[in-house]
């Protein structure tokens, strides 16, 4: 799980152009939206693209995103639950 979390941090930084953020600054349990990384609605769409592009996971119902994208850890757990890690 830790390896997947570290990999995800790098992918999120690259996909969302978080040029001023370093992987070690991302707390895997901090909220991705609102506080924490302070992502916005366009970033949410980019995270959906990231899951499809890198892990072949399609999120059919955008409402699921609220749970999946709570934090880097919840993203990693979801990827693992889909058997795609």
């Amino acid at each position: 799980m830790d390896a997947l979390i570290e990999k995800l941090k790098g992918q999120i930084i690259e996909q969302l152009n978080l040029a001023e953020v370093k992987p070690e600054e991302i707390n895997p349990d901090s909220p991705l939206f609102g506080e924490g990384l302070g992502l916005d609605s366009i970033d949410a769409l980019e995270l959906i693209v990231l899951l499809e592009k890198h892990y072949g996971i399609k999120i059919e119902d955008p409402k699921d995103g609220k749970t999946i994208f709570q934090s880097v850890r919840t993203m990693a757990e979801y990827i693992k639950s889909q058997g795609k890690s």
Binding site: L16, N17, L18, A19, E20, V21, G38, I42, D43, L45, E46, V49, E52, K53
Partner: protein, 207 residues
């Protein structure tokens, strides 16, 4: 009486404000490197900048340079400040990136973060958000820099409630990148500033 109270240029990867060099990236590096280095050279702290396309980055850098020594943003109500910009290539630079992301059906991954920049007036929106400007705005696409077009529109705005304006030309097309932003104020400021007219706009653009 309206005056041009400040201006900034990005030309040949050099950022200048009111004739003074702010950052020179002309001798080395790529355009993306220039855009990042010039951002750092200005001491800007706005993480969203890194998510923007080239057109918006050019506009933001030039605006920051033009407004830095100006009191415009505090001297006028922000809803009385207009933004009027123009260019020739519209959002073509980002349109190409988006096109590339959807051209291969086997690797069809259009990026929402790219798609949102496939309109040229987004640069106005980004400037408006950063500086909290809520006045009139317009973006024109013309074959080349047209001081008369900008002047006519500014005059119309100043007949209304507009008291100050951010105006200029922001162009991104492949490796060709250029920006010119000038600030116009309707005030009794000293005659050290250039009166707003077509000759003055053209002269400053050609500097």
């Amino acid at each position: 009486m309206k005056h041009i109270t400040s201006y900034a240029h990005i030309k040949h990867r050099r950022l200048t404000a009111n004739g003074s060099l702010i950052f020179d990236g002309s001798s080395s590096g790529s355009l993306p490197e220039f855009l990042t280095d010039a951002y750092r050279a200005q001491g800007m702290s706005y993480p969203k900048y890194h998510k923007m396309d080239t057109l918006c980055k050019l506009g933001m850098l030039c605006m920051e340079a033009a407004v830095k020594e100006s009191g415009m943003l505090t001297e006028y109500p922000l809803d009385k400040i207009a933004i009027v910009l123009a260019n020739a290539a519209s959002s073509m630079d980002t349109d190409r990136v988006h096109q590339a992301s959807i051209s291969d059906k086997a690797a069809y991954f259009p990026s929402p973060a790219v798609f949102v920049y496939t309109l040229p007036n987004i640069v106005i929106g980004e400037i408006a958000i950063k500086y909290k400007i809520t006045g009139e705005n317009a973006f024109f696409v013309s074959e080349c820099f047209d001081a008369g077009l900008l002047l006519n529109y500014l005059e119309a705005l100043f007949h209304g409630e507009t008291q100050a304006a951010v105006c200029g030309w922001v162009e991104a097309d492949g490796d060709a990148a250029e920006a010119f932003i000038f600030l116009v104020e309707k005030s009794n400021k000293s005659s050290n500033f250039k009166p707003l007219n077509q000759e003055a706009i053209t002269e400053l653009y050609n500097q």
